[in-house]
């Protein structure tokens, strides 16, 4: 009996020892578990691209590099790119952080509406956005006409065409990224840390600068990085506002090269893409530098209470915010809707010219629309789900096991988002037709390649959003879960996921929305039966049917807005029920 018992015990110990060994090797394997897919999905396509840049007729060589780098236009474009992306990021950070602070901490009214409207710039196609801006601040725009009228002679107050316009419009388009990522961080900053600063005599401004801002850095730096690399890959804004002034940035230059069609076109575009990649990596590096000092000591719950009363300034602030959102979100939406309502493009917006028929056409008569909406919904949901899982795990690994390899891999994940969609699409084709010589997985020409491309391109959105939350959760909560017997799944399900949820939701939301309205990649990779919304809009636009494309865009944006409002109403209703 005693011996039986002993063997049982030793067997159990043996079993535990084996498990113990397994869990350790899992720990070690983690690096490989991350490294291999990242290498395959992110590095390999980029490598294919780089390979193009060094393939000359005479074998491998740097001839194209020499050629492109010797061109003054290249360096001009590099300068413009850095200026446009850099300065617009500063604008985005300024706007995004201010708005997030107002919404998170003050007693400003209409937070749900602000939240929804602040998302519009991400949803409205950039050609609509720029068009609205040219109508507002172009040479013949409202602003300059009003100025001329006031001055009694022709004055040009500000012309949106040119580098300054690119900077401003980009900044206004990308600030929601900073806003979204910063908001969830702000809720998690323990009140007491701000109190401690106040009781040390710091004014509201000092507390903001020395406590709130540094503690919100994960969100600000993450959002800033996303804004920066969005600025790098953005084609629409520099194309519309830069080409007329002959201002090229790398993304437009790459487009120029790609459509050059010559035998060396791809190689030269690849060289430029490498330059763009280097700039993107520099941005990522800058962000790590900023985050170096970020730490958390304790984990606090989301605290949505009002921390700062605006007092007598409240109305003024509300008017300012309202005005800002009116110009940057509502007017573009209205201008888009107005284009969709007039019978034909260019007719004055008067009652007899208005019609519903474009909406009716795109929704009911156009065969492709419904299929496209279905496809986009499916693709965006799947991309969102894949990204939320992969991106969060990656971010977790990246933060809890800091290493040079981790940094490099984060850079690799960021690159596909920084490259123009066209380039990434081409890299996808080059890679996925035959990833390994002799192996054709058959995804090329199917909807699955679009999904892979979406995940590859948008994963960084999720990684950064999740990073924000993960950095705000101290290790002690996970330790407490472990010591209380929580195994991997339990820990994630009961402790980590709920605490990471805000960042994960932000990421899911961003990935879903951007994928849902994605244009370039889908228009390069789609095939019969896998049209996406982007493809349909792009086709309308190309066929000159601006009224249709704006009608469809309006429908999409309004539908998203309705969904958001329904969501927030439901949330409010639910909270009220819980409180009762």
């Amino acid at each position: 009996m005693a011996t039986n018992w002993q063997t049982a015990v030793s067997e159990r110990q043996m079993g535990e020892r084996r498990k113990f060994a397994a869990s350790l090797s899992l720990d070690k394997a983690a690096t490989w578990i991350v490294l291999v897919p990242v290498a395959f999905f992110f590095v390999y396509p980029l490598w294919k691209l780089i390979a193009l840049s060094v393939q000359t007729e005479a074998g491998l060589g740097l001839r194209y590099f020499a050629e492109v780098l010797a061109n003054a236009r290249t360096w001009e474009a590099v300068g413009h790119t850095i200026t446009a992306a850099g300065l617009s990021t500063l604008i985005s950070i300024g706007l995004g952080v201010s708005l997030a602070w107002l919404c998170a901490y003050t007693d400003i009214r209409g937070k749900a509406a602000i939240h929804a409207l602040a998302l519009l710039p991400l949803l409205i196609p950039s050609y609509v956005m720029t068009l609205a801006w040219t109508q507002l601040a172009g040479p013949q725009g409202v602003l300059n006409r009003a100025a001329s009228w006031l001055a009694g002679g022709p004055v040009e107050l500000w012309n949106v065409y040119g580098l300054d316009g690119i900077v401003v419009v980009m900044g206004l388009t990308h600030y929601p990224l900073v806003y979204m990522l910063t908001l969830s961080v702000l809720y998690r900053i323990p009140k007491e840390l701000e109190w401690a600063a106040h009781s040390s005599g710091a004014s509201a401004r000092t507390v903001f600068a020395r406590v709130t801002l540094p503690l919100a850095l994960p969100g600000i730096a993450g959002g800033g990085l996303l804004a920066f690399i969005s600025g790098l890959d953005n084609f629409g804004i520099p194309a519309f506002l830069g080409i007329p002034e002959n201002i090229a940035v790398l993304s437009t230059l790459i487009y120029e090269e790609v459509i050059g069609f010559g035998p060396s076109a791809f190689a030269r575009a690849a060289v430029l893409s490498v330059l763009l990649g280097v700039i993107a990596l520099a941005g990522t590096g800058l962000q790590w530098g900023l985050l170096r000092k970020s730490r958390v000591d304790q984990t606090s719950a989301e605290d949505k209470s009002i921390r700062r009363s605006l007092g007598k300034h409240r109305l003024a602030v509300e008017i300012a915010v309202g005005g800002f959102l009116l110009v940057t979100s509502v007017l573009p939406l209205l201008s888009m809707a107005a284009n969709a309502f007039v019978k034909a493009y260019g007719l004055p917006f008067v009652p007899e010219n208005l019609t519903w028929k474009h909406f009716a056409f795109v929704l009911f008569d156009h065969a492709g629309t419904r299929g496209a909406i279905g496809n986009s919904l499916m693709l965006a949901s799947m991309a969102g789900v894949l990204c939320v899982v992969a991106g969060t795990l990656f971010a977790y690994w990246r933060i809890h096991k800091p290493s040079a390899a981790g940094k490099a891999m984060e850079g690799a994940v960021a690159l596909p988002y920084a490259l123009p969609g066209m380039v990434l699409g081409l890299a996808m084709i080059l890679t996925w037709i035959e990833p390994i010589p002799g192996w054709q997985p058959g995804v090329y020409g199917t909807v699955w390649l679009i999904l892979i491309a979406y995940v590859t391109r948008f994963l960084i959105l999720q990684v950064k959003s999740s990073t924000v939350s993960i950095m705000q959760v101290g290790k002690e909560v996970e330790e407490a879960a472990r010591i209380n017997g929580g195994r991997f799944w339990t820990r994630w399900r009961r402790i980590l996921l709920p605490l990471y949820a805000p960042g994960m939701a932000t990421g899911l939301f961003l990935v879903f929305l951007t994928a849902f309205t994605e244009l370039t990649i889908s228009s390069l990779l789609w095939t019969s039966g896998s049209e996406t919304i982007g493809v349909v809009i792009f086709s309308f636009e190309q066929a000159g049917s601006t009224t249709y494309s704006t009608a469809l865009s309006t429908v999409i944006v309004v539908a998203i807005l309705l969904a958001l409002s329904a969501g927030s109403l439901w949330k409010r209703y639910w909270q009220r029920r819980i409180e009762r």
């Binding site: 109190w195 600063a197 106040h198 009781s199 730490r295």
Partner: protein, 351 residues
Amino acid sequence: MNSARVVGVSKKFGGVTALHQLDLQIGQGEFVALLGPSGCGKTTLLRLLAGFESPTSGEIWINNECVADASKRKPPEERRIGMVFQSFALWPHLTVYENVAFPLQHQQQVPEAFRQNPKARVAQMLEMVGLGGMEERFPSQLSGGQKQRVALARAIVFNPTLLLMDEPLSSLDAELRMQMRKEIQFIHRELGTSIVYVTHDQSEALAMADQIVVMKSGRVEQAGTPHDIYYAPESPFVAKFVGRANFLKGSWAAPGTFLLEKHGAPALPITVSRDFSAFYAQQVLPVRPDQLKLSAWQPGADGIVGKVVHVQFQGRELIYSIRVGEEEWEVVTDISERFAYDEPVQVEVCL
């Protein structure tokens, strides 16, 4: 040099009332200790004094200025208050040096010498709390007690005129605690700083305070000098909480005579000299653990008999828990008097 007054303040968190109509007076340069069981509202009161929260009703006055009522509130940064938070509230992104130097850079009316040379001042403070040489560490690289000491240094570095401390020594060992007590008393005495000091350690309150305020569930139970609180508790609660009193059951025959109950019947008259009127209603006599004496039980002896249910070794003394009838009394004895578990002992009351 600050005085403060709390007038009829209530504070509610949703359905929970943390403070009920509380009144409190802190004189200029006074050292007030807030004592009370966990959850009685001590931290809440400090927060209201610091200005982080508004009272639900009532008023708070500092230096004859009404700084807060239900509708308005003077912001904390204008109150020139030093504060030690119960949870430390160190800034995780700043080093120890930066944490401590922060008030020097931002407080109004920092002595010029400190402002000119913050390095020296911070070094002096860290030396004082025993953290010399840890300037460059981040809070996450400190032990619990080290964090608490940084919080302490941060609160006092700029010579505040009013100092709010929420259990500032709770994570320190006896030695260090004794040292810090002295430092705090020094600041209090030399600079005339008014101090509101939350503690759960009676000996700290008794040793340091000019005035002790005993709180119970959001109300002031008794306020007075340490001596009064200890020797003239006005309620059984205070007697129990501050003096760890045992309540002997019986009945008050006359103001000076207590009839101790024995085997359910009043007997054993005990003559007292102090005023125990606070205990008439409950018909109990408060007796502190050191006012009871134990001796070996002699069969047939007439006296109170109890049984040892628990002993705690305390170095030079022992704390016995003695079951007498339905009650359990705590008795402190010298280390030399040993009784075994379950042994019957004779208990004597020596007031």
